[in-house]
Amino acid sequence: MKETIRLTAALTIICMIATVLLTYVNDLTKEPIAKAQALQKAKALKQILPPFDNNPFDDAITLKTSDGEFKILPGKQNNKIISVVISGYTMQGFSGKIEAMVGFDKNQNITNIIITKHAETPGLGTKVCNRKEQKTLNSLFSNKKITGIVPNKFLDQFNGRNLVTLTNKDKIKFDAISGATVSSKAVVDAVSRIATEYLKYINKIGDVK
């Protein structure tokens, strides 16, 4: 009995020390982590929006849903909205949630799509989601560098499509990547959900001029 108490006390003390340490580190790193994440999102935004002079996150409209959120981020120049980025998600990825950002220009046509978060199969689903340069031995030695946004055959096929053609996902025409049909369909689902949400709120954010 005495030993049981001694061992329980020892384990309790060790767990308490661990808790104190974790609480301290969590408090210490909370702010820098939030800052680093915001920086990453702002970087993604700069890639798809034309130059803007406001902070789109300050002017954002957030639409909460049961398992996530959509954000409407207007990019302004001289207080006029010149383009809009919608961030949203789908749950139909091969391994769960896929988060995307879609940029629309003033005519409501898609300028660019980027996938900000996903857990798709490396080598297959990542072909759909990642904007990563395809390296070969030749390109390694030729020293050519792509500036700006890296092209992705799948994501780029939607560029220039109009908002109204995207709301019904069964009518969207696209070429899926072979071997990654589920991921391809999931990205299309994300785009169409984003378009649907944007269409609902398009009047509330004022005309895009």
Partner: protein, 225 residues
């Protein structure tokens, strides 16, 4: 045993994946390409060094009968702290490459296995040598596994396409069955080599005595030195 053999045994003679068969989940799960194998291996290496040092320092403080739950608490705390600090202060490129694997290490049995089998019985310096050897052995094995699977799947190594005309991926290799097949081939080669060298030296090949299951004392409450 000397420091050098503490270090080198992890790379070949007691390789954590191919001889001890520890850490099978990350081995099978993340080795779909060489870059992932390298990331997981390097992340494990750092955590292993840290946890071996901490366990080695605390080995006289922790009561022997509850050592395993204590090790788990210590390792999980250590990994969580590293993850938080990395999220906050590490450069984005490093965090992107390694951050994904850090939470996977919390329950990695290589870390716990080395704490129990080595760090709890030896000095700090020897524990560091052991962690370095085991970590490097783990990394090399994961890179080799990942590189084989990646190459067989789409003819690339470290995301660089070696064979540019390889357009149809060999999907079997990138999914779980491919991991089992390649790991099986690796184990067979390892055993063949060991057996070959044993026969050459005129011995009968048996598993090293202190590694066989009959010598395992991990859960034995009565055998606490």
């Amino acid at each position: 045993m000397s420091l050098t053999s503490d270090f080198t045994k992890g790379i070949w003679k007691e390789n954590p994946v191919l001889v001890l068969l520890l850490g099978m989940c990350p081995t099978l799960g993340v080795t779909s390409n060489a870059v992932n194998g390298l990331g997981m291996g390097v992340a494990t290496l750092f955590v292993l060094i840290g946890s071996n040092i901490v366990i080695s320092i605390l080995k006289n403080v922790i009561p022997k009968k509850i050592r395993i739950p204590c090790y788990i608490v210590v390792i999980a705390t250590f990994v969580t702290i590293v993850k938080n600090l990395m999220d906050a202060y590490a450069p984005a490129a490093i965090n992107e490459a390694l951050g994904l694997f850090i939470p996977l290490i919390v329950v990695n049995c290589i870390v716990l296995g080395r704490a129990e089998a080595f760090a709890a019985k030896n000095s700090i310096i020897r524990s560091i040598a052991d962690a370095l050897g085991m970590g490097i052995g783990f990394t090399l094995t994961l890179v080799a596994l990942g590189a084989s699977r990646e190459f067989l799947c789409n003819g690339s190594l470290f995301d660089i396409h070696i064979i540019t005309a390889w357009n149809t991926p060999f999907l079997l290799m990138i999914f779980a069955p491919g991991a089992f097949i390649i790991l099986g081939i690796f184990l067979a080669i390892m055993n063949k080599l060991e057996r070959h060298s044993a026969i050459k030296n005129g011995r009968i090949y048996t598993a090293p005595e202190h590694l066989s299951c009959s010598a395992c004392r991990i859960c034995d409450m009565n055998n606490i030195e």
